[in-house]
Symmetry: C2
Subunit: 539 residues, 2 copies
């Protein structure tokens, strides 16, 4: 099925209006990154001396789109719902769909990547390092002298000589990137983040696999027997270093690595703007959600829906942002007020009393309004989302290294964070998973108009009416989600998109993964066979 | 019953060994504050030029102890369990008991206060301020012109003209203070914190009462009808300012006020050391727990036990402390390493690899050990509790303004925080409360040896075997908790205290409130009558 046919099939399923004839009516096409100074809501930038792009605009690799198809897909008037050409070759049979915005930006600023990661331990210093660690452990426990055996890895422990220890493991990584002020940073991150994650996981792979094996062996045994503790620091069980801590550490450091790479790439390549990011790592029976922005992951099972991430925005991160301005007041100078007020203040409010919150407060207290309170607040209101420093609607993610406020030329990057919040779901502890249990991962384009519960109902409905042997069913679920959030055109020539319920539909880029939990807990056999050849072509 | 008799009754109930004859065998008595330089675990101080104490050492007011009784109570060899002389006059019939440590410090460094607060709105600027607020609210909603009526308080809203609005409300405040490096700061805080809380609550009382009444009236009504919103900032329901936000804000600012008062008092009075603090405020059908330290509040109902606070220590606050050192590296200079390591590092570990965590990490990653990693870590191990800057085992509370590290003379105060974490329990939403449902509030002396569950079982057992008409039953429950944690002397002349189970008992000061939830939700009539006269004598 070619792209046009696939697009049409979705449009027909969700819309009664006929799509307009071709994309020729829309001259704004792909091929160049939007200049950041065009982005009305973004402030000024330090002028870039470089104009070359390392990664030109594209759509996710796993879509297997041609240049022509990419152009065809960017029609803001039709807003075709796109999905992978080969859904059965998606990692873990994950479903995917996307749609471009209703004209807000020329390009789709969302990006995505889906990768199987083949992890192998680095050789050399890394091995010796962990040998050292292990050696001390052994010495202190049995006082036996152990020579500097370079092969003494945790897997080589005497108690496990009979088990063959393979320094290889497979993981799946799904990431969404929601760009702003251009798609450049989202594109780079979609090409590179998985390499940073892979590299960080490989650094600790032997220790990680050893801990995981011990944890599985000792599951249910007495605590003191199970304590392969890297640390004598704290005897409490919860303080023990477990395999999942090493995975979390790998994700946390990889996210900072990615942002640092962008900072350095900026010296050479044209990389305006930034992006929010969310990554889902499936590894050793656990599902990790690493979130730095306002994309969201929601688990849908027969028990209902459960958010696996918390939206990180200027509104939800008020205390962190205010504390930064409190400790480093030069960051906002005399241009902004750190406080949040219960209402927009004007000259008329001088000397009256107003409720406010400072960096340390969840509650509200009262103060008398002074001149300095009339400055724009650090976090301001706007029609849809609160803005940081009157400029940007996100507070985490990658990029934005040179972003300045329009008027005062204050640097915004110090307030932004590439640090992810991470949640861990133990798939093996869950009740028997069915093929209708999934994780939905989507950009805010979806969540702005659909509640977690609504999204869960749509997915369960689609999966309930498709054959469990159909490898494209999760992509169908993703399509249905995107189509529901995009809605339909009120009439062919009006640029109004409405939900089935009649409300405003999403005018933003919308991108969705639907990841089947069953295959996260136990990857399908054919996928595992494929991963060494064709699947890896995707990387 | 005099204090000796009360002490004996408790000792007999819990110990088979005879108490040693008198307190003469212990020459270390009360009457002067321990010099901070005597405190072995505390570092150096900026020498105090003032020696006078504003509040000399004492025990809580509600015990009604004479000087002689206070002296008698400080016997480290007997460790008598003390309780209020007049339990029926405790606010909300709350139970209380305390015991001194086993010789760690001369004085009992725990302090406590229990107060009924009669709140009345301040007159003058405050009223006008809220009038202004209200006026703008009214204008925007109905465009009617409203004159500058100084009496236009929220309570004077047209829709409520028929209700008589009284600017008076009652609250109960219970606070525990666990001092270190002397008892001076704990004593001052026990005398003054409630005044700061009262003052902050009075500042917003009219708005607070108005919101509370609106919330109760509109309980169950449609959201849009119930929106007396002080803010148009955010239309979401959870962003609306509610009465509990004003109470939280009052507690938050009052805690900082208290610490600021100590800072200023230090200029004039001798105020070494510091204290952890926890406050329980019962107000308008809600129970607020404001915690800044490692005291803990635990709710015990027929549904089980539930912690209402989280212990805040150098261990649990690692990320906050590390981030501070990251953003202000001069605070630790070259004397400490910001990172946490999986093991204690020595010269032998140079160039080997070790797991570490930095300020942004919940997980662990690997690094190669360098010279700078051999510095003492910001948060170090110790036998019982982790220490901040090798000096102090707490990370929040009041005081310690002049505390320096021993060797490097680095100031520790920048790392300490007086900001409370606050939880709110809506008592009216709970299932029917019985007279066995309580909140236990205790210093770490109790929680170091009793789990939340054990403490819950002890309280339920005591309350199950006492008459519900006995106003001293909650004090009996507190006594039983303290006696259980203190344990018994292994033999009369050995300074060893053991639990009934045979394990190590608590050698620390132990202080416990047992607050009956039933009377928090609906104060007993006789208490309300009393509060204007005798109860208020306590203030």
């Amino acid at each position: 099925m070619d792209i046009a046919a696939r697009v049409m099939s979705v449009v027909r399923r969700t819309s009664t209006s006929e799509p307009s004839t071709s994309s020729d009516s829309n001259p704004q096409k792909v091929g160049k990154v939007m200049d950041v100074s065009d982005g009305a809501f973004i402030g000024g930038f330090i002028p870039s001396i470089v104009e070359k792009q390392r990664y030109p605009y594209t759509r996710p690799e796993f879509l297997y789109f041609s240049e022509e198809e990419i152009t065809l897909s960017s029609d803001h008037t039709i807003r075709p719902v796109l999905c992978p050409r080969l859904p059965h070759r998606m990692p873990l049979y994950a479903g995917y769909a996307e749609v471009i915005n209703a004209g807000k930006t020329i390009q789709n600023e969302d990006q995505a990547s889906a990768k199987m990661l083949v992890l192998t331990q680095h050789q050399g210093a890394e091995m010796n390092g962990f040998s050292e660690e292990k050696k001390i452990e052994s010495r202190s426990s049995n006082s036996a002298e152990i020579d500097d055996d370079p092969m003494l890895t945790p897997g080589g422990d005497e108690s496990e000589k009979s088990t063959i220890f393979s320094l290889r493991a497979d993981a799946a990584l799904f990431s969404l990137f929601d760009g702003h002020a251009g798609s450049a940073v989202a594109v780079v991150a979609s090409k590179c983040l998985h390499e940073h994650v892979k590299s960080r996981l490989c650094e600790v792979l032997d220790t990680l696999l050893h801990l995981d094996r011990q944890e599985n062996l000792n599951f249910g045994k007495h605590r003191s027997e199970s304590s392969y503790s890297m640390s004598k620091m704290n005897e409490e069980d919860e303080a023990r270093i477990r395999s999942e801590h090493l995975v979390k550490g790998a994700l946390e450091t990889a996210f900072l690595d990615m942002d640092e790479q962008i900072s350095q790439d900026k010296q050479v390549w044209r990389l305006p703007g930034g992006c929010a990011v969310i990554s889902i790592l499936v590894f050793l029976g656990k599902l990790y959600v690493a979130n730095a922005g306002d994309c969201r992951a929601v688990m849908v099972t027969s028990d209902g829906t459960k958010a696996l991430s918390k939206d990180l925005t200027p509104a939800s991160e008020r205390k962190r942002l205010q504390e930064l301005a409190y400790r480093n007041p030069e960051l906002i100078g005399n241009s902004f007020s750190r406080l949040e007020y219960s209402k927009k203040l004007t000259k008329k409010d001088l000397k009256s009393r107003v409720l406010y919150r400072d960096w340390f407060m969840d509650g509200w207290a009262v103060k008398t309004v002074k001149e300095c309170d009339l400055r724009p607040p650090l976090i301001s209101e706007s029609s849809r989302k609160r803005r940081l420093l009157n400029t940007i609607g996100v507070s985490r993610g990658f990029g934005d290294h040179h972003l300045l406020t329009v008027d005062e030329r204050l640097s915004i990057k110090p307030f932004l964070s590439a640090v992810p919040d991470i949640t861990v779901t133990h798939l093996r502890d869950m009740n028997v998973l069915t093929d209708k249990d999934v994780v939905i991962v989507a950009s805010d384009g979806l969540w702005d108009v659909l509640s977690n519960e609504d999204a869960g109902l749509i997915v369960r409905s689609t999966l309930g009416s498709t054959d469990s042997a159909d490898s494209s069913r999760y992509t169908q679920a993703a399509q249905d989600l995107v189509a529901a959030a995009r809605g339909q055109q009120a009439s062919p020539n009006l640029k109004r998109w409405v939900l089935n319920s009649g409300g405003h539909a999403s005018y933003d880029d919308i991108t969705v993964f639907v990841i089947p939990l069953k295959y996260c807990a136990a990857p399908p056999a054919d996928l595992e066979e494929e991963e060494d050849d064709e699947m890896l072509d995707l990387e």
